[in-house]
Each structure stands twice: as structure tokens, then as C-alpha cells.
């Protein structure tokens, strides 16, 4: 049996274990809540992580469409980038998939072709990890960007209202005041 067939067959078990492993990165009371509360809007973290890993697993099996893969990763990483994690902790969830798969196909791993295919498959997970670095950095940069833009919004407006600065009048209406 080919590795990808095997993984498809064990899809539910792998996803559940991967999900559980990610939830273990949260304190016990929190992971219980993230696991048990099913509502999308009352448990956005649990929902997003599960939807995300489900999508990522499909992409790993199907051939990694870069837009879709990035979106699934972004959804999860955007959350973990502001939670109480160091960068390595925030990103660890990608590598947990390797661990889960190795455990799940332990008995088949020595069979023909499988170990070689596993190496290739794990390289794809590594690729996800590299993509995740970009996304994580983008999110962190965004946090600093919004801090600056919030301050700018207040300061600039204040100076203008106090008539302390001259502003070149805008000629075209559609570029005036983006927010």
C-alpha cells in the first residue's frame, strides 16, 4: 500500500491525535474547553485549529495548493502569534504532525517503499514549516504595525485639529481618509 493511501485511511485518527497534541500546548483547563466546546463562534480557537489542520492534511495529500495552504496556516498562526507562546512554541504544531504520523504508522513503517515515501512526505511538512515562518513573521510585524498606526491616527488628527499643521488639500475624494 502506498503511504498516501495509508494516511488517507488513517485520516480520522491522525487528525484527532494531531488536534490533541496541539491542544496539549495549552493549559489543561483550556485544552478541555478547546476540545469539548463545538460552537464555531464561542470557541473560535478550537474551531480554527481543527478546520486548519484538516485542510492542511488534505493539502499535504493532494499536492499543496499554495493559496489554500497559506490560508489554512494563516488562520492558525494568526491566533498563536498573539497567544502566550514563544515563536518556537507557536510553530511547534506543524512538527507535531510528524510525531503523530510516525506513531500512527509505526507497524507499517518498515514495509516496502513506505519509509522512503515518508521521507518525501516529511519534507512536505518541512515546507509547511518554512511557509509558517513567513506567516508568523507577517503576523508579528502586523502587531507592531497596528500599534504604530493607532498612535499615528490619534496624533495626526490632534495636530490637524489644533491647527498646528498645514495639510495639502486632497483633490480626489476617493483617496481621502482610508479609515
Amino acid at each position: 500500500m502506498k503511504l498516501e493511501d495509508l494516511l488517507s485511511q488513517k485520516r480520522t485518527a491522525i487528525l484527532e491525535k494531531w488536534f490533541d497534541a496541539i491542544l496539549e500546548t495549552y493549559p489543561a483547563d483550556t485544552s478541555r474547553f478547546l476540545r469539548k466546546q463545538k460552537g464555531r463562534f464561542v470557541n473560535p480557537v478550537g474551531y480554527t485549529i481543527f478546520q486548519g489542520i484538516e485542510g492542511l492534511f488534505e493539502e499535504l495529500l493532494q499536492g499543496m495548493d499554495s493559496d489554500k495552504t497559506s490560508l489554512f496556516l494563516d488562520n492558525i498562526i494568526r491566533i498563536r502569534a498573539v497567544q502566550d507562546f514563544s515563536p518556537s512554541q507557536a510553530m511547534a504544531f506543524i512538527f507535531l504532525l510528524k510525531k503523530v504520523i510516525r506513531e500512527e504508522i509505526k507497524s507499517e513503517i518498515g514495509e516496502n517503499q513506505i519509509s522512503e515515501e515518508l521521507l518525501i512526505f516529511e519534507s512536505k511538512i518541512d515546507k509547511l514549516a518554512l511557509l509558517s515562518f513567513d506567516i508568523y513573521m507577517k503576523c508579528r510585524e502586523k502587531v507592531y504595525e497596528i500599534k504604530v498606526s493607532e498612535t499615528k491616527r490619534m496624533l495626526f488628527g490632534l495636530l490637524k485639529r489644533a491647527n498646528l499643521i498645514y495639510e495639502i488639500p486632497e483633490q480626489r475624494p476617493h483617496v481621502k481618509r482610508p479609515h
Binding site: F41, Q89, E150, R177
Partner: protein, 538 residues
């Protein structure tokens, strides 16, 4: 030969699992981005609070030698003074109904942000020093010693509660977590420990009448600046008056509306609406703040800062007070003002001079919410509206916590929006009305210092905004709170950047048709109206 890594070896060097310790043993770590800066001594001195020089990250908080006594005396005093505090300390059965209702817990995952957990920080001390079981059984009865670490924990977590009261909606006993937070903050202030973002507005308000510290002449010129903006966009001259004796109505707004976009567009919206119906109103440069950061400081401070409203209404001889789109202002005005600074027997029971409607709900406070006032105008066909002028926006409505949960103001804003916009979509039921999710910047936490915490807490609100954005193309998030208008903008930038934030009266004003107006091609924020995209301003 290089050492080959064993399976998991690399991963095991990264500690990605949290430590397994009991909550009493887990100390908070003050990580930048998750807490606000300490209240500055100059701001504390102005209001006669103890004014230490310190930083929350200091190992030694340099507490006075008798600090324990001060805190315990403070608790004792409040337990006897406030029946609710005593009740809330005693009656929780830890059923867990509130546990997963806090936006900070849902988005951040820190178990001490479960409301029951946050309250337990205070209850454990209450049990130890004020109950027999706690005195005798100690930890077995959920009691613990008051130590400097406990104090640090209080400071950390009572400034991770936005006093939004979502958890209270679900508590079968009606325990009001906001009041517990308020008590925790009051006690900390006995030692001068607070956050500057909440306290500086208090100090400024005490000195100048508003949180921003805008002096009377500045306040007047800023509002006139926006009157000029209205003229540029509509060709209509609104003429706001200030401190005008004999005006029928005193109009009080949160100062956030004169300070930052998009609140300023809401301010323009108020003035245009009043001009449209010819309302006889005045601003005050002294009662120049509807908000009351005293609510995030102490009960005495709420009263001190609120006193100016009735005092100014009396001085000017108005009939009643109208209030703008603010959030926590309405918890104070609707629930505390009359008790604290009333009775306002020199004012009349509010009656709309335009429609004759008597606002019986405001009989005691003599203060009407602008959405009640405007909804009534619409109901009586007093506004000439062209809904299509809002066709460039697809709107959803965020129930701002305090007007929703402290006033039950659910229908009026929706009625207004439906009457001035063609495209309005609700967010999922479990995230609106009394179950609305907070912006995560209320109760004095809306500063850039704790941006990560705000983004965590903002996730639940943002998730439902994103849902309606993806499903219906929503591009505008309406709300009725000045803090919302400041913090939701930033929150949207991170979570749903396609959605901009608006006050309700910006939408009203965009739709208003005036006699003698010039051709309207742009909205109040200078954005082109539908059909005028890319056109020259005319």
C-alpha cells in the same frame, strides 16, 4: 561524524507544553504586550491617591510596611459597605457556567481569565481572612495567604478584565464579575497600584472635565473644526453653541468623539441630525466628557467625575440631558448617576421637542440616549432620508457591551440602521445583543502597550465579523461606543482588514437630505458614494 538527531530530540528541547502546576502556584509573568504601564505618580497625586514610583516588572514592588493591613482593612470596609461584594464572595458554587464566556479566555486560553478563576483570586483571600472555614482549613477550603505575589496576580488579572459583564449573563446567581474587578482595582489603588492608561484620563477629567485634557477653548475650536468639515462636504452650516444658558437640552458626548477618527465622523453625524430637526441644544466645555474612567478606578471616583453633569445642567438651566454614543458612560448614567449625584429635581422629565414623545424610561436620570432620541425621530417621519447614500456600505452591528448589557438597548440602534441603510446583516445570534463579545479594549485597556492581549480578547468578536464579511460582503462594523470606535479599528486591521468601523450617527448623517445642500458625492469620511467612485469632488 555529526550526531544524528533522534526522533523528537529537537522538539523535546522546545518546551511547548505548559507546566502542570495548580493555579495558586502559577505566578503571572509580565510579558510585554500583555499588560499596561503603571499609573504615573503625578496623576495619582492630583486625585489624592498614594503615589508610588514603581513598575509592575520590578521584583520588589516597594510596598509600604503595613500594606497587608491596608488591603485587609479595605476589604473589610467594602464587605460591610457593599452588600453585592459580600454576596459575590459567598454565593459562587463554581458551577462553571461563566468559565468559557470571557473573550480573554476564549481567545487567549489563560485559565485565570475564566471569570470564576479571576474571582477566585479575590475569594481565596476573602476566605482566608473573613471566613471561619478558610481560617481553619486554609487551602482545603480554597483559602490562601495574602502575599506580594497574590497582589501582583490581582494587578495582572484585574487589568485583563474589561468589565464587559458577558459572563454575568450566564451566571445562574447573577454574580457581576465587573463588580468584582472593580473591587479588586479599588483595593489595589489603596496602595496606588493601577494602570496609567486608565488613570491619566481620570486625573485629566478631574482637572479639565474630559479624559483628553482638552481645555474649553480647545474643545470649542475642535467642534467648530468639524462644523467646517460638514460645510465642506454638504454645504450645510451647522452652528453648535457652547455653555449656552437657556438652551433646552444639554448634549454630552464621550471626548473620544472629538479626538480620533472614526469617532469624529460620529460627532459630525450628531450635529447634522440636530441641525436637520432644528434642535435647541448646547455643548458644555466643562461637562465635556460623557465617559467616566472613574468606573475603572473606584466608586468614589465615579461619583466625583460624574458630578459635573447635573451641576452643569443646573448652571445652564436646561430641561434635560441628551447623551451621545458612548459605552461605559451609560452604565454610569443609567445605573449610578441618579443614586450618586441625584435627585436631579431641577430637571424635567425628558420630552422630545420635535415629536412630543415622553421618555418615561429616563424619568429618574433625566438623561436620554441619542439612539432612543433618533429612533423616535425616524418613527415620527421627522428625518428626510435617502437610504441609497449608504449603498456603498454593507453593515453589521456590534452591540457595545454597556448599552447592551447595562441598558438593554438592542432594538433602537438596529431600527436606526435599517432605516438609513439598505444593506444590514446580523452577526451570529450567540455573539450579539446581551451575548455580545467585547472589543477587548474597554475598562481602560485600550492602549497599544497590551496589544497582544487586546488581539487575543478581540478574536471572538472578530470571528463573527469575519463570518458576515465572507458570507455577505460586510465592509462596515457599526457600534455605539467611543472605545469601540478607537479599538475595533485596530482589531479589524489585524483580524479582518476588509472591514472599517463606524458610529451609528455617521450612517444617519450620510443618509440625511437637507434643503439647500450641495450635490453629495462623498460620505463624511471623504469616501465616494455609490456611483461617484473616482469622480471629482463636486
Amino acid at each position: 561524524m555529526a550526531k544524528t538527531l533522534e526522533q523528537d530530540e529537537l522538539l523535546s528541547t522546545i518546551d511547548y507544553k505548559p507546566p502542570k502546576k495548580g493555579w495558586m502556584e502559577t505566578k503571572p509573568s509580565f510579558k510585554p504586550g500583555t499588560y499596561c504601564y503603571a499609573a504615573l505618580p503625578k496623576n495619582l497625586e492630583v486625585i489624592d491617591f498614594p503615589a508610588p514610583e514603581w513598575s509592575p516588572t520590578d521584583e520588589d514592588w516597594k510596598l509600604p510596611p503595613n500594606w497587608k493591613e491596608i488591603i485587609l482593612e479595605g476589604m473589610k470596609d467594602r464587605l460591610s459597605k457593599y452588600r453585592t461584594f459580600k454576596l459575590f464572595m459567598d454565593i459562587c458554587v463554581r458551577c462553571g457556567a461563566c468559565a468559557d464566556k470571557c473573550h480573554f479566555f476564549i481567545g487567549g486560553g489563560d485559565p485565570k481569565n475564566m471569570p470564576v478563576g479571576r474571582a477566585e483570586l479575590l475569594r481565596s483571600i476573602y476566605r482566608r481572612y473573613f471566613t471561619t472555614a478558610g481560617k481553619v482549613l486554609g487551602k482545603l477550603a480554597g483559602a490562601r495567604e495574602l502575599t506580594e505575589d497574590v497582589l501582583k496576580e490581582w494587578w495582572y488579572y484585574f487589568y485583563q478584565c474589561t468589565e464587559c459583564r458577558r459572563c454575568s449573563v450566564f451566571c445562574p446567581y447573577g454574580i457581576d464579575m465587573a463588580e468584582i474587578t472593580m473591587m479588586g482595582r479599588e483595593l489595589l489603588y489603596l496602595l496606588g497600584r493601577g494602570i496609567n492608561w486608565a488613570l491619566e484620563p481620570v486625573a485629566k477629567c478631574y482637572k479639565t472635565g474630559n479624559h483628553m485634557g482638552i481645555p474649553p477653548q480647545g474643545y470649542k475650536s475642535i467642534i467648530e473644526f468639524f462644523a467646517d468639515e460638514i460645510y465642506d462636504i454638504t454645504g450645510i452650516k451647522v452652528e453648535p453653541t457652547f455653555n449656552r444658558k437657556g438652551a433646552e437640552i444639554l448634549f454630552i458626548i464621550p471626548s473620544g468623539d472629538v479626538f480620533g477618527d472614526p469617532g469624529t465622523f460620529t460627532l459630525m453625524g450628531y450635529m447634522m441630525t440636530f441641525h436637520h430637526v432644528g434642535l435647541d441644544y448646547t455643548f458644555s466645555t466643562y461637562a465635556s466628557e460623557g465617559g467616566n474612567f472613574g468606573l475603572f478606578t473606584s466608586h468614589e471616583m465615579i461619583k466625583r467625575l460624574n458630578a459635573k453633569m447635573y451641576a452643569e445642567a443646573k448652571r445652564l438651566g436646561v430641561k434635560w440631558i441628551l447623551g451621545g454614543e458612548c459605552g461605559h458612560m451609560w452604565r454610569v448614567c443609567n445605573q449610578y448617576m441618579e443614586t450618586m449625584n441625584g435627585p436631579a429635581d431641577f430637571l424635567e422629565e425628558p420630552v422630545s421637542p420635535i415629536t412630543g414623545t415622553k421618555f418615561e424610561n429616563a424619568k429618574a436620570s433625566k438623561m436620554v440616549h441619542i439612539s432612543e432620541f433618533t429612533a423616535d425621530l425616524i418613527r415620527h417621519n421627522k428625518l428626510k432620508i435617502d437610504k441609497s447614500r449608504n449603498d456603498h456600505v454593507i453593515v453589521t452591528y456590534h452591540d457595545s457591551c454597556n448599552p447592551a448589557r447595562a441598558m438593554g438597548l438592542f432594538e433602537e440602534p438596529r431600527y436606526i440602521i435599517r432605516n438609513v441603510c439598505n444593506h444590514f446583516y446580523e452577526m451570529p445570534e450567540e455573539t450579539i445583543r446581551e451575548r455580545t463579545f467585547c472589543c477587548a479594549g474597554g475598562a481602560g485597556l485600550g492602549t497599544d502597550e497590551n496589544m497582544e492581549m487586546r488581539m487575543r480578547g478581540g478574536l471572538p468578536r472578530a470571528s463573527s465579523v469575519r463570518y458576515v464579511h465572507e458570507k455577505h460582503g460586510v465592509n462596515r462594523l457599526a457600534c455605539m461606543c467611543a472605545i469601540d470606535r478607537a479599538t475595533l479599528v485596530t482589531m479589524m486591521e489585524y483580524w479582518v482588514p476588509q472591514v472599517a468601523v463606524t458610529g451609528v450617527h455617521e450612517l444617519v448623517a450620510n443618509s440625511l437630505v437637507f434643503d439647500g445642500e450641495k450635490k453629495r458625492t462623498v460620505g463624511l469620511r471623504g469616501e465616494p458614494l455609490k456611483g461617484y467612485e473616482g469622480a471629482e469632488e463636486g
